[in-house]
Amino acid sequence: MSTLVEEILKAAPPASDQKMTAKDFQSDQDVRWCPGCGDYSILAQTQRVMPDVGIPRHQMVFISGIGCSSRFPYYMNTYGFHGIHGRATAIASGLKMARPDLSVWVVTGDGDGLSIGGNHMIHILRRNLDINILLFNNQIYGLTKGQYSPTSEKGKITKSTPYGSLDYPFNPAALALGSSATFVARTLDRDPKHMQYTIKRAAEHKGTSFVEIYQNCNVFNDGAFFQFTEKDTKDDSVVFLEHGKPLVFGKEKDKGIRLNGFSPEVVSLKDGKWSVNDLLVHNEKDTTLSFILADMTYKPGIPRPVGIFLAIDRPVYEEEMARQIAFAKEKRGEGDMVKLLNSGDTWVVQ
């Protein structure tokens, strides 16, 4: 017996062949982030990439929790669910298990996804449902007006930490890797091309994709990432990870990262001691390497790694769930309620 859901989906008209545009993904709602917020860029890049992802918008669902980032679904002309604080990943998990046919996206932030929702985050990653997670990291609580977040640097002075925060920050990429994520990436709100590429790769990845996006909160934490995003400092402060390519950086492309034992170190390509051949070559299939790269994040003197740390295949949760169901049906036959109710020890009263 097919379910009502299956009947409805079967009866739905086929999606039109006409290629969608970014505009098709804009909802009729006024965007209400603060002027100058990094979220605008993320919204724009996402809407720009969606037509290329090639999934009709009625088959897409954006799910969020609470926080500035979590208003995102209202602005996407897809299905959307603005949930409660920290739970977007759990809501998304249930939806994806119930409806593997949908393209499910989670939009969250450093507070929503790593603090109140930290537990659900690590579990969705280890389960590897085919869901895409965009985590806007601005290292601050914006919606509650400026308290420190789990990614704020230690010693951060905020309204709730007038003497400086005591907490050591999470490194989101390392946390995701430690949770056995199969796709882990970092991108920048002020690098539209890189963000588009990264979001597209996340969409293509089968399994949970974790994308950390450095996002500027110009009201409560302005310039937190300027060292990595602004023209005059970016080249010397960021190393872009590209699969199969050596880790070269610097305005003159004259610096690189080599491994000294297990420790990455910055070397000059100018003084004749080291050449490109000595550098660490990125391999996004290498889990061990991904940990080393993610660990570079807060290391002094080492550029900030940006790009795709890891992209590997592992069985997808909802497919394994479907496989178990198919197996049970094959072995025991399609479930029959009448038979079940009358199974086992029964007796008749005349």
Binding site: F81, A90, A98, H120, H123, G335, W347, V349
Partner: protein, 612 residues
Amino acid sequence: MPEKTVQNLDEVTIRFAGDSGDGMQLTGTQFTNTTAILGNDLSTLPDYPAEIRAPAGTLFGVSGFQIHFGSTEINTPGDQCDVLVAMNAAALKVNLGSLIDGGTIIANTEGFNDKNLKLAGYTSNPLTDGSLDKYRLYAVDITKLTALALQDMNLSSKLVDRSKNFFALGMMYWMYNRPMEPTIEWIKNKFANKPEIKEANLRVLKAGWNYGETTEIFSVRYEVGPAKLPPGRYRNITGNQALAWGLMAAAKKAKLDLFLGSYPITPASDVLHELSLYKNFSVKTFQAEDEIAGITSALGASFGGALGVTTTSGPGVALKTEAIGLAVMVELPLVICNIQRGGPSTGLPTKTEQADLLQALYGRNGEAPVPVIAAATPADCFDAAFEASRIALKYMTPVFCLSDGYLGNGSEPWLIPDFNELPDISPKFRTEKEGFFPYLRDDKTLSRPWAIPGTPGLEHRIGGLEKQHITGNVNYEPQNHDFMVRLRAEKVERIANDIPLAQVEGDASGDVLVVGWGGTYGAIKSAVTRHRQRGNSVSHLHLRWLNPMPKNVGEILYKFKHVVVPELNLGQLIKVLRAKFLVPAVGLNKVQGLPFKAIEIENKIDEILKGK
């Protein structure tokens, strides 16, 4: 062979008690299933400690299983037991108080050695010091007899010891004239891959039976004839199994997949276990990372067009509270099953209580009305779960389905329903693009359309922020919020149009009306029946729906001089009745982790009748 007399009994209550590792739950369950097959009416009460293997011989490690069965209608597991099977001294000490005067004790003498006596706090052996003279005492060295039955098998003493519960079971089968075959079959299946254990258990079971048959200790055998139950096919069922099947039946009748998001918690875990078995029914069970993920995943599944369910107990509901509010706001169907246990906090995980009613009715931030239905008996859990699902789907709302540890673990014979006769409860998904808004209202039910992702042209966003009427857009206007709060309340109130009127058992007016809800149904029914047999003007009103209540509750209450409300809490339903109907109701309250005894309710009614 000595001559044995056979005595006919209308009803008997037996309590099996021993260490938590002695297999008393298994013994009780086997006795129950066999008794059910014989056609007796029955009711059971498993009573076990929260510790899985509490230290052997201790008072707090005692595990008990009580079964009340008869040829008459049985509504409770029995106020007191007629027979106590005590596998050790601690089991005797803990349970002697519930044995009737003149009752039978079957004691395992090995369980009364010096060490066990000391652990149980006895200074002399009650089996020999005459303190049990008012009972009919059978001291049997079950441990030794078990060992003798297995002496040529070279089993470890641990394995031998583990079989001794089957000796006790065999004796009880003999004494109450029950066939061994159902248990023999069960042992053969259960231990098919462990031939040694299978053989040992079979031998010991038969040894127990033969011991009753051949020794001269037992001079009487008892016969309890089948009960006069309504005709049809029966099975024995526990509350948790019935609840699981009720949910499955609802999903089938709704033509939806069942999705369960749950986190293990006593005494609700068995519902998760049960549903996990039925993958061939397309049941999807998800053991989430915590209670919150349990409910939010279920809500996500509902958004996608599944029948979303979460199962838990009180502490779990506390964690799910915020998500229940979200379900109220986004108006998606969701069934929240609370198998209540003793609280507050961790409380008494394995003991029963009904102290979560106010939590279900009011335990949320904001004005967040949720329909609440409570099961009355173990088998009624099936109907309650089905009904909760029907209302959730029709009214697009979360619904609480309350059960409790006593119902969940307890069992009774169940007249198997005709599945084909159950109503079609399939929802109408919105597919029509024209004129669609996510918060449109059905004129009659006030429910909003269910438009599932994947439907072209119906893309929309829902969430926990206040919604504008019709459009569903985020809206903070004062008048709109006031309107929406009232609308959500009215939607739930209108469910009263969709549920049966309350029925009084007994006269429609009179001296005393006993009002109950949930698992106290059987004890209240027994107490009221006894009063009516004594010629007193006492009636019984059972409330199945607690929110909304049936429309005629007020008029029923006003027709009685006294209203008494027995509850396993400090007075929760009574608060609601007083507030809603301004009746001077009187409470009877007990919070001991145990169900009511019928006599407790009977006495309370006597008190009220005397005072009139």
